[in-house]
């Protein structure tokens, strides 16, 4: 075909079909070809310098000795170096001292977020807002006291309050009357409050005692909020009737704060105490 090209001088490749349908040779621009070859060379050089070929169990390592894992570890070390300064200070300080030092407490609030999220948030919520059956940490109503030392002790030793189930002691009418008075925020208005001995734990003023972990019944903040389909009044009645952590009553409310002393380090507990205190209710 080539010797007898009917269309000379138009750079066709010599492939001609149907008399005049022919393939022209229009190569890409030279600069394009240069870039093309340059990228191939780049690829080869890259493959020599960096890990690339998946051969066997391990890919080729590259002569630079670079690895993503090393880079990651270097990054972590960098962060640790920044933290180290604060962490050593925290080691030698009590939770109260950390709380009093503005820089350190700020560092703690920023860094203990993960600790809180891992250990506390499942029950108490990410912002200490509490959950069904679990107490709010962001308010200033504390069962066992809200000073930094109290909080630290709560975390490390755990807590378990006890209230006897009063269903056997009180009649339903008595329970109803008591619940109404508590909901109104004035338990003392019901004579039974004193007569039936509630004051023994909840105090003469009904404000609870931190030593016992008994609840303040006057402030409208309830340890056991209403569950689905229940009113706050019914919830109060249930608490009186079945008690809290009363082993003799199968319907009793369960309320246990586990001890974290064995699971978390002393420093972590200090940090968590500061973190919780900073939610806004710490005393």
């Amino acid at each position: 075909m080539a010797d007898n090209n009917p269309f000379p001088g138009e750079n066709n490749t010599g492939h001609i079909w149907d008399d005049n349908l022919r393939e022209l040779s229009n190569p890409p621009p030279r600069w394009w070809m240069i870039a093309f070859w340059a990228s191939i060379i780049w690829f080869i050089v890259y493959g020599v310098l960096y890990p690339m070929w998946p051969i066997g169990q391990e890919p080729t390592q590259g002569i630079m000795g670079w690895s993503q894992m090393d880079e990651y570890k270097a990054g972590v070390d960098e962060v640790e170096a920044v933290r180290a300064e604060f962490e050593t200070q925290i080691k030698g300080m009590t939770a109260k001292e950390i709380l009093a030092a503005p820089g350190l407490s700020q560092y703690t609030v920023a860094s203990a977020k993960v600790l809180f999220g891992d250990n506390c948030a499942p029950c108490h919520g990410g912002g200490g807002q509490g959950g069904p059956g679990y107490p709010v940490l962001a308010d200033d109503d504390w069962l066992f006291g809200g000073t930094i030392e109290n909080i630290q002790q709560t975390i490390s030793m755990g807590r378990k309050g006890i209230m006897t189930a009063h269903g056997k002691i009180l009649s339903d009418t008595e329970i109803d009357g008591m619940a109404d008075a508590i909901l109104a925020g004035d338990p003392m208005s019901d004579a039974n409050f004193t007569q039936k001995g509630c004051i023994a734990c909840h105090g003469m003023d009904g404000k609870g005692m931190a030593v016992l972990g008994s609840a303040n019944l006057t402030d409208g903040i309830y340890r056991f909020g209403p569950t689905e389909g229940e009113s706050q009044l019914e919830s109060i009645k249930n608490t009186i009737k079945y008690g809290v952590n009363d082993v003799t009553d199968p319907m009793t409310r369960e309320a246990v704060m586990p001890a974290f002393g064995g699971r978390l380090s002393e420093d972590d507990i200090k940090k968590l105490a500061v973190y919780v205190h900073k939610f806004g209710g710490g005393q």
Binding site: P29, G125, G127, D219, I221
Partner: protein, 478 residues
């Protein structure tokens, strides 16, 4: 009609197509364009517009007070533009500035074609300067072509080497000037020579040097043809009312050389004498007489060339001139500017962007306050019966010294701010966070959400600075 005739007519159509495609010459870089340089009106305009780029080289050396007048300080995340310091928080103005520039490009293109390409684009300007140097060193186009074909000689090598050296010098200077906008310029020069500048600085200069040298020295019009997206985008922004450099084919065709001794009245040809000067001066090597085409950057140099020839042969100027397709082809009167919807729409958007920037620049507060309302929980009931909300206040201090600030809040009746007298140090050039608790007695809350206004105040150089931000106070559902 017989089948044979049909086939024959098809054949002739095909032949025409092939003939046309054979003529179609696309330069993909194998041919260096050596454009002739001629003076003229548009040539002068081009030098003037190119001179705008001098600012690029000398701009970084201007000082404002104790610092560089314009400095894009990336490590410290601060942009200094004359007396104004812009922090990342004010970057929305940058998007308005970009919108304005994009629309400026659009409106210029809609009205007068690729004005940017032809007169302002760095590719055009640097190529122009590089080829101007080439002409100074190697001579006119014919001489340059001859030199290209000439065998290797000492003369050739020394001429070429001088040229490349100067090109590289300009390229390096381009790179350094670019980096100088981001790096204190005097520090930069010192660090460059003491080898103490950052790798990023060296890398950027190297990239710009290579880019300038290759793009302006070798790629030239190829960059406009195949690399630049704006060339194509601007191509589709042109319509029939756009005034662009055009060849008046009614006047020019049929082309023909001047016949010696022929009286002007007997001439049967058009005004175009086919001298090909328009092609010779074209920096992208296109023939304007083929009409609008992608290769034309609308630099108007062919207008100068044609006018000069027309004057010489005593015909009226303007065979190639700025003209719209409508007025050339349809003999329509050019539409006045105010009748074109594009002008209105583009101008409206541009004014909006300008108003936004003006507003932003005039309302740049030295002390800025952001308020983040805690979401988990939205509010907390306290044992004294009040509702407590938690806010994280972020105080941005744009001044150069720390400011001691106090925070106050105004909102629902009975509002109490915990630690309201606490003084916070707002660090300069940074955001300082502070947690604020607000309590309102529950019975005083009239609605689920109530507006609340935070104010941050601090004294700076005997002047009271203030930042205000609105938020909401959230209480229980009623």
């Amino acid at each position: 009609m017989s089948g044979n005739e049909n086939a024959a007519s098809k054949q002739s159509v095909m032949d025409d197509l092939y003939a046309e495609s054979a003529h179609l010459h696309i330069n993909t870089g194998e041919e260096t364009i050596h454009a002739k340089r001629m003076g003229g009106y548009w040539r002068n305009i081009k030098w003037l517009s190119a001179a705008a780029w001098i600012i690029f080289f000398i701009g970084p050396y201007f000082q404002w007070g104790e610092r560089q007048a314009v400095l894009f300080d990336i490590p410290n995340r601060q942009f200094h533009i004359l007396g104004v310091t812009i922090l990342p928080q004010d970057f929305w103005m940058l998007s308005l500035a970009l919108l304005f520039l994009a629309l400026l490009l659009a409106v210029a293109t809609a009205l007068a074609g690729r004005v940017y390409c032809g007169f302002f684009c760095f590719q055009t300007v640097w190529t122009d300067v590089f080829t101007w140097l080439e002409e100074k060193l190697e001579g006119k186009p014919a001489k340059r072509r001859k030199l290209e074909k000439a065998p290797l000689s000492l003369n050739k090598v020394s001429t070429k080497a001088t040229k490349h050296l100067i090109w590289l010098l300009i390229s390096v200077l381009t790179g350094i000037s670019f980096v100088a906008w981001f790096y204190d310029v005097f520090d930069l020069w010192r660090d460059l020579f003491t080898l103490q500048a950052s790798t990023v600085a060296y890398g950027t200069i190297a990239l710009f040097t290579a880019g300038t040298y290759v793009l302006a020295g070798y790629m030239r019009e190829q960059a406009c043809f195949w690399l630049c997206p704006y060339a194509r985008i601007q191509g589709v922004m042109i319509d029939k009312t756009t005034v662009v450099p055009s060849y008046d084919f009614h006047r020019g065709e049929p082309r023909g050389r001047i016949k010696k001794g022929q009286p002007e009245e007997e001439r049967t040809t058009g005004d175009c004498v086919d001298c090909k000067q328009c092609i010779a001066v074209c920096p992208t090597g296109v023939d304007i007489r083929h009409g609008q085409q992608e290769g034309c950057i609308m630099c108007a140099l062919c207008i100068d060339a044609c006018d000069e020839v027309m004057v010489k042969i005593g015909r009226p100027k303007g065979l190639i001139r700025y003209e719209s397709y409508d007025s050339l082809e349809a003999n329509k009167k050019p539409q006045p500017l105010y009748k074109r919807p594009r002008v209105w729409v583009y101008s409206a958007i541009m004014s909006l962007a300008l108003v936004g920037i003006a507003y932003g620049l005039t309302s740049l507060a030295p002390l800025e306050l952001k308020v983040i309302h805690e979401r988990q929980p939205l509010f907390v009931l306290q044992s004294d019966g009040s509702i407590q909300n938690k806010y994280i206040l972020k105080v941005l201090n744009k001044m150069t010294k720390d400011i001691a600030v106090t925070i106050s809040a105004k909102g629902p009746e009975g509002l109490v701010m915990v630690d309201k007298d606490l003084v916070t140090t707002a660090r300069h050039g940074k955001v300082t966070p502070r947690t604020v608790f607000i309590r309102v007695p529950k019975p005083l809350l009239a609605a689920e959400t109530t507006p609340i206004v935070f104010t941050v105040r601090g004294e700076y150089d005997n002047e009271m600075l203030e930042g205000i931000r609105e938020s909401v106070f959230i209480g229980p559902d009623r």
